[in-house]
């Protein structure tokens, strides 16, 4: 019985700890000094530095979707619906999920490694003894920056994805441009856009929570100490973020549809 009970209690304990960590991250926002500057810096780290990869992934996702959808829909003579299909797929699912996954890989892993190294080299203790709240200093600006950048990058991903779909379907496969864009206009509603932004915001909080939490607690890991712990924390952060993004996506989709 203990073999079942112990991991369940450990999981509940971890979830509780993560919830308190997140709550502290939000609670420290009003107390964090010179927050605007730190947020701008993090917007640059999470947003601007991830821009290129988001553009690249967005473009190729649109290209592939356009190509696949064109041939699949040709079988039913429904190429005219391609714009709708592509836009809805991107706005509702692909853009928020892939953007979050790409930011996790690009910025989230770096965040975990940075905070993990700060933890094992006494930098977080140094903040504490200077009476600087480590969560307020390290996590709160990242949370705010992620809440700004995730929706923005998701929008950019969507626009560039629709452009990619246009390139493959209209430019390469000669689908009528008017049919492609009117399909998008007629099918996408404000509810879809709101859902897309909601997902982006939820994923932002999840990614920052997991990545910062893993780095912050790297010294408590049982699977390694020092540099090994930071490496393992980074791996865990990326894997856990991706799993949580997909799980949260399912839950949110089931409420939004």
């Amino acid at each position: 019985m203990n073999e079942i009970r112990t991991p369940i209690f450990q999981l509940l304990n971890r979830l509780g700890d993560m919830t308190l960590f997140l709550a502290e991250g939000f609670r420290q926002i009003p107390y964090s000094r010179r927050l605007a500057g730190k947020v701008v810096q993090q917007v640059y780290v999470i947003g601007a530095k991830s821009m290129f990869v988001i553009l690249l992934i967005g473009l190729f996702t649109g290209l592939v979707l356009g190509l696949q959808a064109f041939y699949a829909m040709s079988m039913f003579g429904a190429q005219g619906m391609l714009g709708s299909l592509l836009a809805l797929t991107l706005i509702r699912e692909m853009a928020p999920v892939l953007t979050a996954v790409m930011i996790t890989a690009r910025a989230g892993s770096a965040m975990t490694a940075e905070i993990g190294v700060m933890r094992i080299s006494d930098q977080i203790d140094a903040l504490e003894v200077m009476d600087i709240h480590p969560i307020g200093y390290l996590v709160s600006p990242r949370l705010l920056a992620a809440l700004i950048t995730f929706p923005l990058l998701t929008s950019i991903f969507t626009v560039i994805g629709i452009f990619g779909g246009y390139l493959s379907a209209c430019v390469l496969l000669s689908l009528n441009e008017g049919r492609y864009f009117s399909g998008i206009e007629s099918s996408v509603t404000l509810h879809d856009i709101q859902g897309c932004f909601l997902k982006a915001a939820v994923f932002a909080v999840l990614v920052i929570l997991v990545c910062c939490y893993q780095g912050y607690n790297a010294h408590l890991r049982k699977d390694g100490k020092g540099a090994e712990a930071v490496g393992n924390a980074t791996t865990s952060a990326v894997v856990m973020s991706c799993v949580l993004i997909l799980m949260a996506d399912y839950v949110l989709t089931s409420f939004l549809l």
């Binding site: 000094r33 940075e114 203790d125 009476d131």
Partner: protein, 273 residues
């Protein structure tokens, strides 16, 4: 917080990690306005004591009075206020890796005051001058040597002119000249701030001889000696005499090379490959 003299008093302190007790019934007095060196073998509990004094770990039992206030029974918010009066030099400086030296040194002022950036920069620059690093203000910690990082850590520790200064092994890993410079820096600092209570954790007996007014020696988590440098030089305690003469236990001597023939022949094969 009303404090007349920042003396540190440790009474029956027990501390450790998990189930492991590192400090056992430790009692010591660290006088206000003096440089106290904390000496002891590796693993005797020096860093544990420092972490307890800084509130980074919680003691198992006992009391720590700083400036007459028991920090172990103080509400956390009040202790955090008291800790603002502490300056801490961590072993490797613990400089924030994403900040330049100037930003790092100005960090406590930047986070706790509304001073304009220019004033903060000037304060940081002047403190960096004190430790001889004014030319490196725009360098990141990763671009500096170990000794420079320690000096920058000291600059950050004193930028708020704290009445209590803790230094964790300020001379470890430094060459003799840089170590002597570091000692002189601590003495100069003490001359500038004579009221400052300073605790220096060190292994370095030379450093102790140069800077200490008061000495605390730990052995196996207990106080082996607490008194002035002169009192220590007259001690007849066998452990202290061995410690000061840098004598080690005979049983630790290498009677024979540790590798056996099988390992040696494998190494031979690899070296001749």
């Amino acid at each position: 917080m009303n404090v007349d003299a920042w003396n540190i008093s440790i009474r029956n302190l027990n501390g450790g990690y998990g189930g492991r007790v590192v400090l056992e019934d430790l009692t010591a007095e660290l006088p206000a306005g003096a440089i106290t060196t904390l000496l002891g073998e590796s693993g005797c509990g020096k860093t544990t004591l420092l972490r307890l004094l800084l509130g980074l770990n919680t003691p198992l039992s006992g009391q720590i009075f700083i400036g007459g206030h028991d920090i172990c029974r103080m509400p956390p918010a009040q202790f955090h206020k008291m800790r603002r009066r502490f300056g801490v030099l961590f072993q490797d400086g613990a400089l924030i890796s994403s900040l330049t030296l100037e930003e790092d040194v100005a960090l406590p002022l930047m986070e706790h005051t509304r001073l304009p950036r220019k004033v903060l920069q000037e304060a940081a620059q002047r403190t960096l001058e004190l430790v001889g690093l004014e030319r490196f203000a725009n360098f990141y910690p990763g671009e500096l040597s170990g000794g420079m990082r320690k000096r920058a850590g000291l600059a950050r520790a004193i930028v708020t002119e704290p009445p209590v200064l803790f230094c964790d092994e300020p001379t470890s890993g430094l060459d003799p000249i840089t170590a002597a410079q570091m000692d002189q820096l601590l003495l100069d600092m003490h001359a500038c701030y004579p009221q400052m209570t300073t605790l220096v954790v060190t292994h370095d007996l030379g450093s102790m001889a140069r800077i200490a007014e008061h000495v605390l020696v730990l052995h196996a988590g207990k106080t082996a000696f607490s008194g002035t440098k002169e009192e220590l030089s007259q001690t007849r305690d066998p452990y202290l005499l061995r410690f000061l003469d840098r004598q080690f236990e005979e049983s630790r001597r290498m009677a024979a090379p540790p590798l056996n023939n099988a390992v040696r022949s494998a190494l031979e094969e690899w070296l001749n490959d």
